[in-house]
């Protein structure tokens, strides 16, 4: 099962302090839905405020981004630019 880490800590207020989870998901979309099921409100937080790094590659706004069985998944603050 993919291991997911919330990096940066701001979202801990949704999770009561936890930042690491095992989540059954093969896409980013499923990951968001699963986490929102466990921690209501976290889903929107992730969608609007975060990016996801799956095995080192960063995805932003990509429901279909694939997550493998042994993937390393980090939720990090959204990245913009100048």
């Amino acid at each position: 099962m993919p291991h997911v880490v919330i990096s940066g800590d701001i979202s801990r207020r949704f999770t009561g302090g936890e930042r690491e989870f095992d989540v059954e998901a093969t896409t980013f979309r499923r990951l968001i839905l699963e986490l929102d099921r466990r921690f209501p409100g976290l889903g929107r937080q992730i969608e609007e405020g975060m990016a996801v790094a799956i095995d080192g590659e960063i995805f932003q706004d990509a429901y279909a981004a694939p997550i493998g069985e042994k993937s390393e998944v980090y939720l990090i603050p959204r990245i913009g630019g100048g």
């Binding site: 405020g49 790094a53 080192g56 630019g81």
Partner: protein, 756 residues
């Protein structure tokens, strides 16, 4: 389809950009160059107080002035509800944006817009501003980031509670959020260290310094259809944000991007556009607003002033064992400094086993901070890259070797978590080491410094459309405003795919009604993401061209090849047909099925990270503290340079801005929190004679996710210069400066103090 590793005919060459002639002859149409029949002029009244309650605004006298057509205040903007607002970490908060464009209840900085007037001439509008009566209750203000964090600091927002602290605080604060990244065991890491260096670095706010002030022309027709022409990095963003702020349907706004005289991130949001629209609606006329330079400084967002505390632990051989970084960034009047990315970039270049990075986003009474090239990273790297230099000196190692020893490579875990893949940092170090600059001799009073930088770069949504004209020339239309030469790169990529000369491909930037949604130009994304869309659209055109050749030859499309701008039968069995050039197929397109065009609309993922290493030589005049940049080499992994001259230009431009940040740029406030230097006379950006020719060295580690291997390039180059210059000053004059800017009085004071 990939072009990585192939021999290319167009990509990698240096054709003249199509917008070049207009720009150098003054014909190009910038934000202030648009004129619309019946147009009137808008001007904005700004708070002279750093912090004040707005008790009353009386526009009676102004409205009676002949020629005045409308006055707007916050009352003319929807009051965006609080629940939508503090939705958390989303970078754009529309309630805050609305209040930044037009103050509601409170003026939060000297320069904050409190009202606006539209009149038949600029002079009348100016006179009308003076007739608008605003009653303020002046409040105590705070600007310095640490003073704003103090428990007794004047509060800007009564309902702002620090996020990221458990348990949630009960008292409001100016600290909007606290963010933290950890890796390994920091205490253990410092225990293992042979040497520990702990230092504090500071920066002042600096402005993006675009030569062209914000400007727009807005029209609201009687049927509610709106149009906006503006100087912007993203006209889809302008449309979306104005729609949000004014409660208009997105479908009812058509936004176009003017040629832009610089943005650098400062034009990734709106200031004058919603105000012009509100005035246009109220007055029934099109309204033009052009900011003065003073307004740009007083009313638009700079990069954050900041405090960076760095503690590094290392073994004698130079291996880092621990790194602790604390970043305190000014957000300005509303939350949202880029302290998050700052935290993630601070140590990105290094393989540090144990790390703890904490960031604070702090509001204070100055303009809301806006993006500026790699937002957040230059501040963090100013501290970390300087501290690494101090560590190198303490260990007796050369700073390049220290970085080589600790360089992040594929497979190394970043401090913010993910494991690096396909990065080129070590390659930039190797290129620096091999470069003649690294070994060039130095004279007395001269010194050499190096520093590195990292930026993520982003992808995102882009639409590109490629269509073939009847004569075989081609148009590629995208929705990406061209702020750095991207338009010619689009033409080059399309020309490469089609196999034609770049002169046969005309790139344009289409407005929001003429092309599909495209995210703004920023984050070094356009050549990557919009280029990807353009390449995709061009390949679909190639597929279509092959189909048309097949119709003409009466063979199957699978039996057609496309090479060098022509259709060929694929192999002997397909038939002995003469190759069909694109122009020929275009000429007959009506009969073979109709116009030939294709569009690609994507959300590009997989932007390649950017790393750079810079070498800087300075000479210090020890009697005046003046620092002269003698030589500068900027080395960066650019993936693949579509147009090398414009990639070099991005590097040179970023370096120039970084040098200005390092040496002379800063906001100067008086004791009442008013800005003393809102102009280029005393806000000192580098002039051409301040810098030597900057050597840009393009290292190419292709990004496998892009058909040509492109990585974003525009932002990395602004990150290393501040520390590179400081490190050079140390070696030239024996003084270590830790506060930016390193202006002559500060350098001289440090030298004199060193002398004893």
């Amino acid at each position: 389809m990939t072009f990585i590793g192939k021999d290319l005919k167009v990509v990698g060459t240096r054709p003249i950009r199509p917008d070049g002639v207009d720009k150098v002859t003054g014909r190009a149409n910038f934000g202030a160059d648009m004129t619309v029949p019946g147009m009137i002029w808008g001007k904005i009244k700004r708070s002279p107080h750093a912090h004040a309650r707005i008790l009353r605004i009386d526009a009676e006298k102004a409205l009676r002035l002949p020629g005045v057509k409308a006055v707007v205040t916050a009352a003319d903007f929807p009051n965006i509800a609080a629940e939508e607002a503090f939705a958390g970490e989303a970078i754009m908060d529309f309630r805050d944006l609305s209040r930044n464009c037009m103050a509601r209840d409170k003026a939060l900085y000297d320069g904050h817009a409190v009202a606006a007037v539209a009149a038949s001439t600029p002079a009348i509008a100016e006179a009308a501003l003076e007739l608008i009566d605003v009653e303020y209750e002046v409040l105590p203000f705070v600007i310095d980031v640490e003073k704003a964090m103090a428990a007794d600091a004047p509060l800007l927002h009564g309902e702002l509670f620090t996020q990221g602290i458990e348990p949630k605080p009960t008292a409001p604060s100016n600290i909007a959020k606290r963010i933290n990244f950890t890796k390994g065991d920091i205490e253990k890491g410092f225990r293992e260290a042979d040497v520990v260096i702990e230092r504090r670095y500071t920066t002042r706010p600096v402005h993006q310094g675009y030569i062209e002030p914000h400007a727009c022309v807005a029209t609201v027709a009687a049927d509610g259809q709106c149009s906006i022409w503006s100087s912007s990095q993203g006209h889809f963003m302008v449309r979306q944000y104005c729609a949000h702020l004014l409660g208009i349907d997105i479908a009812n706004i058509r936004a176009a991007a003017a040629e832009i005289g610089g943005g650098f991130g400062g034009k990734t949001l709106i200031y004058v556009e919603p105000v012009a629209l509100a005035l246009a609606k109220k007055s029934g006329h099109s309204v033009k607003i052009v900011m003065t330079r003073e307004e740009v400084f007083r009313g638009t967002g700079p990069a954050a002033g900041s405090v960076i505390e760095v503690k590094l632990g290392a073994k004698k051989d130079g291996r880092l064992t621990a790194a602790e970084v604390t970043l305190k960034y000014q957000a300005g009047a509303f939350p949202g400094s880029p302290v998050g990315p700052g935290c993630m970039c601070a140590l990105a270049m290094y393989d540090v086993p144990n790390a703890n990075v904490t960031g604070y986003d702090v509001v204070c009474n100055r303009p809301k901070v806006a993006a500026y090239r790699a937002p957040g990273a230059p501040n963090a790297s100013w501290g970390v890259e300087s501290c690494l230099d101090e560590l190198a000196l303490a260990l007796g190692l050369d700073p390049l070797s220290l970085r080589e020893k600790n360089a992040a490579k594929d497979g190394v875990k970043a401090v913010h978590g993910p494991t690096w893949q396909n990065i080129g940092y070590a390659e930039t170090l190797a290129a620096a080491k091999a470069h003649p600059h690294w070994r060039a001799p130095l004279g007395a009073g001269q010194g050499r410094g190096i520093a590195s930088g990292f930026w993520f770069n982003i992808g995102g949504e882009s639409t590109a459309s490629v269509h073939v004209n009847e004569d075989g020339t081609v148009v590629v239309a995208t929705g990406s405003p061209d702020i750095g030469g991207s338009r010619v790169s689009m033409a080059m990529m399309v020309a490469e795919v089609l196999g034609v000369a770049v002169e046969r491909v005309r790139p344009i930037v289409a407005d929001t009604s003429s092309i599909g949604y495209t995210f703004l130009t920023g984050g070094s994304r356009v050549t990557f993401a919009t280029g990807m869309a353009a390449t995709e659209a061009a390949s679909r055109v190639v597929d279509e061209l092959k189909k048309r050749a097949a119709v003409i030859w009466e063979i199957s499309p699978e039996a057609v090849e496309w090479r060098d701008g022509m259709a060929y039968p694929a192999g002997q069995n397909a038939g002995a047909f003469e190759p069909l050039p694109l122009a020929e197929i275009a000429f007959r397109s009506a009969r073979t099925g109709g116009p030939i065009s294709a569009e690609a609309a994507i959300n590009a993922q997989g932007p390649g990270a950017g790393f750079g290493t810079h070498i800087c030589d300075v000479e210090v005049d020890k009697e005046t503290g003046a620092v002269k940049i003698l030589r500068y080499t900027a080395i960066q992994d650019v993936g693949r340079a579509i147009h090398p001259a414009y990639v070099e230009g991005q590097l040179q431009g970023g370096v120039t801005q970084g040098v200005g940040w390092a040496l002379n740029e800063e906001y100067i406030y008086d004791k009442d929190g008013r800005l003393e230097n809102p102009g280029f006379l005393d806000y000192r950006i580098p002039v051409a004679s301040d810098l030597p020719m900057i050597d840009a060295v393009l290292v190419e580690v292709p990004n496998p996710r892009h058909p040509f291997g492109v990585r974003g390039v525009g932002e990395v180059p602004i990150i290393p210069p501040t520390a590179a210059v400081a490190n050079a000053i140390y070696r030239a004059a024996g003084v270590r400066l830790r506060d930016l800017p390193m202006s002559p009085p500060k350098v001289l004071a440090a030298i004199d103090e060193e002398k004893g």
